[in-house]
Symmetry: C2
Subunit: 623 residues, 2 copies
């Protein structure tokens, strides 16, 4: 062992080490001189330890005095108790310090483009700068925490799946392009000029083939890629837990995943969530929450009041109903005072939300005492008002909001409105907001009084999990004038709906299911088609001629008639899971080296121009 190598980490020393000679390696978090002492907080992944350089060790003292933040040191010294009253309660090593006896500067460091210390009074630098110097950004304690959490999450998943007999099997990155759904990333072939591999959007076909091969229980934490325009919570490459099982029905897959989700939350955050998770049919989810991934941390259910609206004299409602539309509303409990009448006018905070969905307007009433007020109240006779109050459970102080339009548009508009209200009215609490508030009060008080604070307690209700099931199998594509798969073309139909495949495709429900966590879709899967005849029918329905289907998916069709067992599975979006578990809404926070929103890596500069020779070898040129 080289003499500069550490005997302990920077998070390890306690009272019991007092008197021992130790060597620590780490980075200078901060350094400050008080009279004849220089204090250095030495940091590594495991914690930080205070190092004291005494002036009577002149050479060391001089070096220590000139060191700046982020220098890399090896310090050998003696552990001693801190001076009475100087203990720190916010770090585990807070009762000791190390008096330096020897120092090796392993690397100096000039001033950096931004600070990585994350002191409470330091704003993080802007994201572009942090992405350019990602290796510095990754030093921040909060990001180290997130990536450590991600490791623990992945480990928990692998342990869980392994314990249940699942085999983690690797599937290829270099596959075949199947232009369907999202865009493929293509890879030119040097050996076969003019031909291309495609990077996988998911291991879907491979995992089905593995079932046909008899592997019975497969999983993989798999990298997938989609060349799509990015949104806040999307990246060109992403990681999913990919699962497939043979001889199963819906309940088997859901039960397995409920156990896994509960295990992840237990291992990552020490909380117990109840299982099984509620199941909501797609049609109900859309009707009651205006979304196929509703956030059920709060209520604010959407209520269909078409029957009551029909009894009103409000012509807008009546003409919508006459045209086959619906009138639906939300009772924003106690929110009458929260939104002024002017905020409810066209272009105001709430109407703006529904206008995005092309709703023609947001009608509203307020419950003042026993009365309903607002501009449309006059169109509602008292008896109709009474019915409305009863159906919506109206109490004084409530705000009633209505949208009248075609069913789908109404659902989308009210769904967006509901989400906004949930957050605006603080009907639920993100655990990280709660924790930040807790840190600022309980944590701060503990620090002030030099006492250890009880750790922040997360609660099961911070994580709301549910299934959405009974999706329609096909949606009508108005542009292409044909049916399109709502999930993917390998999704199986409900047994009792198979007869409708040819007669009434819109009526067929899929054996598909989505897992929803706090309003995010965090998983989705299905029982697959395992019979070639059914798969052919579906391809045909989707406008794919048999020749075309054979060209693209011939190997799958062949495999389906080579002894394919019933099978199904699911994929969980692990970036999104980690994002929610870590308490962030920025997907880039949970990825070590992310791309920016334009799919460029600001650190390496990728993508970049390449040598002409490379392109020549590949048989391509720029157009």
């Amino acid at each position: 062992m080289a003499e500069w190598q550490r005997t302990h980490t920077c998070g390890e020393l306690r009272d019991s080490h007092v008197g021992q000679t130790v060597t620590l390696n780490g980075w200078v978090l901060i350094s400050r001189k008080f009279g004849n002492q220089v204090f250095v907080d030495l940091r590594d992944r495991y914690g930080l330890t205070q190092i004291v350089f005494e002036a009577d060790n002149a050479e060391l003292f001089a070096t220590a005095d000139k060191m700046g933040r982020e220098w890399v040191l090896s310090v050998t010294g003696v552990v001693r108790a801190r001076v009475a009253g100087k203990d720190r309660t916010d770090v585990a090593t807070g009762r000791i310090e190390v008096e330096a006896k020897a120092l090796t500067v392993l690397n100096a460091c000039p001033p950096l483009p931004f600070s990585v210390t994350e002191f409470p009074d330091e704003e993080p630098a802007n994201e572009d700068l942090r992405l350019q110097y990602r290796y510095l950004d990754l030093r921040r304690r909060s990001i180290q925490g997130v990536l450590t959490l991600r490791h623990r999450m992945n480990k928990a998943i692998r342990d869980y799946m392994d314990e249940r007999g699942f085999l983690e099997l690797e599937t290829p990155l270099l596959g075949k392009s199947t232009p369907e759904g999202a865009r493929d990333y293509l890879v030119p072939s040097r050996v076969f000029n003019g031909e291309f591999f495609a990077l996988p959007q998911s291991p879907q076909l491979y995992k089905q083939l593995l079932m046909i091969s008899g592997y019975d229980k497969y999983f993989q934490i798999a990298r997938c890629l989609r060349d799509e325009d990015l949104r806040a919570d999307r990246q060109p490459e992403f990681t999913q837990l990919d699962v497939e099982m043979s001889f199963v029905e819906i309940d088997n897959v859901l039960g397995l995943m409920e156990g896994l989700a509960a295990d992840m939350l237990q291992k990552c955050h020490g909380i117990t969530v109840p299982t099984p998770f509620p199941r909501l049919k797609y049609a109900d989810a859309v009707l009651r929450y205006g979304s196929d991934k509703p956030d059920l941390r709060f209520g604010l259910e959407i209520v269909d009041v078409s029957d009551i609206a029909a009894e009103s004299e409000f012509t807008v409602f009546k003409s919508v109903l006459a045209a086959g539309g619906v009138v639906r509303g939300i009772n924003a409990k106690g929110a009458a005072d929260r939104f002024s009448n002017s905020q409810l006018k066209p272009g105001g905070e709430l109407p703006k939300l529904v206008e995005v969905y092309k709703a023609k307007g947001l009608a509203w009433m307020k419950a003042e005492g026993d009365k309903l007020t607002g501009s449309i109240e006059k169109f509602f006779p008292d008896a109709v008002k009474a019915k409305l109050k009863e159906k919506l459970g109206v109490q004084p102080g409530d705000l009633l909001l209505f949208v009248a339009d075609k069913a789908e548009l109404t659902a989308n508009a009210l769904g967006a409105l509901r989400s906004h209200l949930g957050s605006a009215l603080k009907l639920y609490v993100n655990w990280w907001e709660e924790k930040a508030a807790w840190d600022a009060t309980e944590g701060a008080a503990a620090k002030k009084e030099k006492r250890a604070a009880k750790p922040f307690a997360m609660r099961p209700e911070h994580f709301n999990l549910l299934w959405v099931t009974d999706f329609p199998m096909f949606g009508w594509d108005d542009e292409e004038k044909r049916w399109a798969a709502i999930h993917h073309p390998f999704t199986g139909p409900m047994d009792e709906d198979v007869p409708f495949l040819e007669s009434d495709p819109g009526k067929v429900r899929a054996k598909a299911y989505d897992l929803v966590l706090n309003g995010y879709e965090v998983g989705g899967g299905s029982i697959r088609i395992h019979r070639q005849d059914v798969q052919n029918t579906v391809f045909k329905l989707l406008g794919m001629e048999l020749d075309e289907a054979k060209k693209r998916f011939g190997f799958l069709l062949d495999a389906l008639q080579s002894g394919a067992p019933p099978h199904g599975g699911i994929a969980l979006g692990l970036d999104r899971w980690c994002m929610i578990l870590a308490g962030t809404t920025n997907i880039r926070d949970v990825i070590a080296f992310p791309k920016n929103q334009k799919a460029r890596d600001l650190m390496t500069g990728a993508p970049a121009a390449v040598d002409a020779r490379q392109l020549r070898d590949l048989g391509v040129k720029l157009s």
Copy 2:
């Protein structure tokens, strides 16, 4: 649960289940009718169970009678003991059978292009056909065993690394092309037309950056890709265990990996290999074994006899020595009778091997009794012969083989000769050859006598592990007229050799190490350069101007002066590890969906032509 779903797997039923009603799901391995009974061996991943269809259940019997191999069934029936004397000892369910009471055909199956049963008398189909129908090939019990082993190996690795505080962190697939070493696979960018991502040849730069970011202990089971011409044990995409640690020296990395390798062998095969592993300096390995990845399951050391040859009258030896060459030999113990004089003539079995390396010839002597015989013996006076016999430890029956040439050529030629002799003389035994022989004798006898055979015992000596260290840092590239990195340009020089970096680069040894298993390089790594000035010097030595270096690796150079700790790591080739652990020499056996030797996927047909629209979006066209 659907009524067809299994209550047990096909490997689960024992005596204790007799009398129970069970449901099994699986594939028909074989089906045979004897009088009024149809016997079906039903197979799944977990084993096989004999199902009996009795003629008195007429409907079932009729269906069972027409079923062929690989049909997928659900069978409900009653477990019963087999007729006395009909127990099978080669399967765990061999004492019971299931009398069928109900049958659901989950999928029929036409005759397949080849058999997947692996009966001893069935030759496997040719590999191209098997790759085309890979989903059938994967049903073979032997391949299922290999992929299960691979899962266990990966799980063992992850458990080991996690227990030691290593974080598994994911690095990008879409990176920057750094045309150095092997060819990159390129990925055109739709957003930035004319620019390309590159798929990673390894996460080398990212893992170094993670050390600079303070992650301290990183690992990843990572997919890597190289667009190189393939050899028998290479694939375009491969999987490596990638490891990096901070504040370490060589011994730390080697110690960690010795523990891991021992753990893998213990968990995969239940054998204990001794640690630490022997270490061999590169120069010694080349001198004594003619290889930087010597197989030390056997001896046959190469001995330098230049000093003795100088005393001979053999002009060939003397002129080589005069020109600065060497004379080295191998004593093939007891092999004088194994190789006839004609096999030792130019073009014979052994001379052919050294001719590949452009050795001018293979000189030989045989020890017959006390005498040395052969065509060159006459050039050796008795006293010189005596010295030769002593140095080579000659005994009656030995065969002495000599090459005289430049040192490097001699080493390569004798290294190849040594490998061939090791296998030709059966100086070591592959455990799988030993196991096959054991199966044919002990296993067969057990089967015949209907007794359980003791399982085959693997032994530590089946797996020979060693380190090769002290590699030279640079080799002179005669074509490019410049120094080239033997490992990669981020490898650190030995501290004591740093002064030679500028004065005598050929003398600098690298802090690099390779792990060798049974003559295969199964791992390689180094302590890295952690100082920007040293890295710049190395880039310059490699002929890279500072501008060029900054353009390619600017982010690394910046990072090296932003507080980089000393760090180092290693990568293990897991495909190769699995290949050796599984007892195969075909890398495609350990990959679920491999490419063929031309880098084509015969099952999906990838790579393939793509739509013109796709290329237009990417801003490329075919040339």
